[in-house]
Amino acid sequence: MLVLVLDTATPAVTAALAEVHPSGHAVLAQRATVDGRAHGELLAPQIDALLAEAGVKPRDLAAVIAGVGPGPFTGLRVGLVTAASFTMALDIPAYGVCTLDALGLRTAGRALVATDARRREVYWAVYADGRPLTGPAVDKPADVAPKLAGYAVTAAVGEGAAKYADVFGLPAGAQLYPEPSALVELAASRVCDGAPSEPLTPLYLRRPDAVEPAARKPALSASER
């Protein structure tokens, strides 16, 4: 079965085509462009190019796998709304994968996965032999660092781990962004089983910035009152 794979939860605007079968899976073609500000411009042309390159028509697709974050909201939504409209138009199922899980899948031992959450924070989780040990969270690197010893973390991957390597005191691995093959691996059984389509709910982990208005300011100047 042919599946479309999307992840826009990091600055890497990622799209891939993969073949998934009960006997195994393989990525046929993939593209990733690192530009944290142009997800909306880059993603659709990348999908178009991938399909053309592989000689695949959209109607040949059997499912869409999408990284549901956590990640900076605006970019994250581009991938999720694209996946949602694709699956709606083609009447095929969508499967979500936590982006941090994809990054952590190929780590060994205890590893920190951290991506850049902007505002000097990271989205992070700890993995044990590739499986999540903690849920994804968003925090300041300095608040994450003291917890790592408790988890006996010895390795770190992701752009956030590289950016704040000195704060974490861990050598950052080479992998900065999620690999399509890892996203496929995490959803392959659902694809093969024909599991029900999932709502692609973004992992925002932060509330929207919004403040309720204060009491109305006086319009008359002090001397007029």
Partner: protein
């Protein structure tokens, strides 16, 4: 395929997720999901709240529109989407969703201008727009006077607000009077029982000097402050605030300036058609005053029904259908959502 294009339009520039379907000038579906209630306690639209709501609402709203129109995506000839202006994050949800649909269905996509779509929507109610026409667009986000020579090619801005949008002034005055957000409907309602001549509020940019430099521009910030000062002075003196009179007098001040300048634009440019769009066009006093003043000069006023005046997907579909019919080339898949899209661009 019928000779008239079947176009699906997506709108997400502010707090309304709209999906409309039209065939030429015929409206087939106009599905809407609004996040307005989620913004009410903040007294204005919160961009991130709106963006989140668009993502949740887009697919269900698409399904509703297709059901309402009794068509499938395969029947659609083209997809149109608001590319700007508007809230950047909100626009992006509609744009990316529309691109996904266009790619999956292998249909052409048109990224269009939200303001031009406010003009085009009138064709669904009154048929093709006579050109040239003057358009007055008034909402919570914009207040503009435009000259429309060819809606498929671009419009010429004549003037715009230099501070608050007209709808924003309605929202702020409503808040001052203890009315809910958005402020347009409650003020319109209260004004019906009030005296528009009770209080003389200022008419922004109508002085002799302003008419030289800002003939077709608007200003509502001073008006809003004047209302606030008047109400506050009343409260301080311990007298009751005549809410209905304040609403009526404020509303008349806004409508007076808007219609005066719109009619002036028609007369000086020798144009006989005035089309009014945007949420404030749903205001009953604005419509009545425009019709009364236009009649004196033989100008025809076109105002679509209120549901088409506020933001919706049908207006985007209407402009898309107009572009398809005019033979305009579709947009490329890499176009960006442009929060400050200029009026001179009808499409991207």
């Amino acid at each position: 395929m019928s000779s008239e294009p079947l176009v699906l339009g997506i709108e997400s520039s502010c707090d309304e997720t709209g999906v409309g379907i039209v065939r030429g000038h015929t409206l087939l579906a106009d599905a809407l999901a609004s996040s307005v209630d989620e913004h009410a306690r903040f007294g204005g639209v919160v961009p991130e709240v709106a963006s989140r709501a668009h993502l949740q609402a887009l697919v269900p709203t698409l399904h509703r529109a297709l059901d309402e129109a009794g068509v499938t995506l395969a029947d659609i000839d083209a997809i149109a989407v608001t590319a700007g202006p508007g809230l950047a994050g909100a626009l992006l949800v509609g744009v990316a969703g529309a691109k996904g649909l266009a790619l999956a269905t292998e249909k052409p996509i048109y990224g269009v201008n939200h303001l031009a779509a406010h003009v085009a929507v009138d064709t669904l109610e009154h048929g093709p727009l006579p050109e040239p026409a003057i358009a007055l667009l008034v909402s919570g986000g914009h207040s503009s006077l435009l000259r429309v020579d060819d809606l498929a090619r671009g419009v010429t801005p004549l003037g715009a607000t230099i501070d608050d949008a007209a709808g924003e002034a309605f929202d702020k005055v409503a808040r001052l009077l203890g009315m809910p957000f958005p402020g347009g409907p409650p003020i319109d309602k209260a004004a019906r029982d009030g005296d528009p001549l009770a209080i003389t509020f200022p008419r922004g940019l109508t002085g002799p000097k302003d008419l030289v430099e800002h003939r077709f521009d608007f200003s509502f910030s001073g008006l809003k402050t004047a209302v606030a000062r008047w109400v506050e002075a009343r409260e301080r003196s311990g007298e009751p605030v005549p809410v209905n009179d304040v609403a009526a007098s404020f509303q008349d001040a806004v409508c007076d300036v808007l219609t005066r300048k719109a009619i002036d634009a028609c007369r000086t440019q020798g144009i006989e058609t005035l089309v009014i769009g945007g949420g404030v066009a749903a205001n009953s006093r604005l419509k009545a005053m425009a019709a009364e003043r236009a009649a004196k000069y033989g100008i025809t006023v076109r105002v679509p029904r209120p549901k088409l005046c506020t933001d919706n997907g049908a207006m985007v579909a209407a402009l898309g259908a107009h572009l398809v019919a005019a033979g305009t080339a579709p947009s490329k898949l890499d176009f960006a959502a442009d929060s400050a899209m200029p009026l001179t661009l009808v499409g991207v």
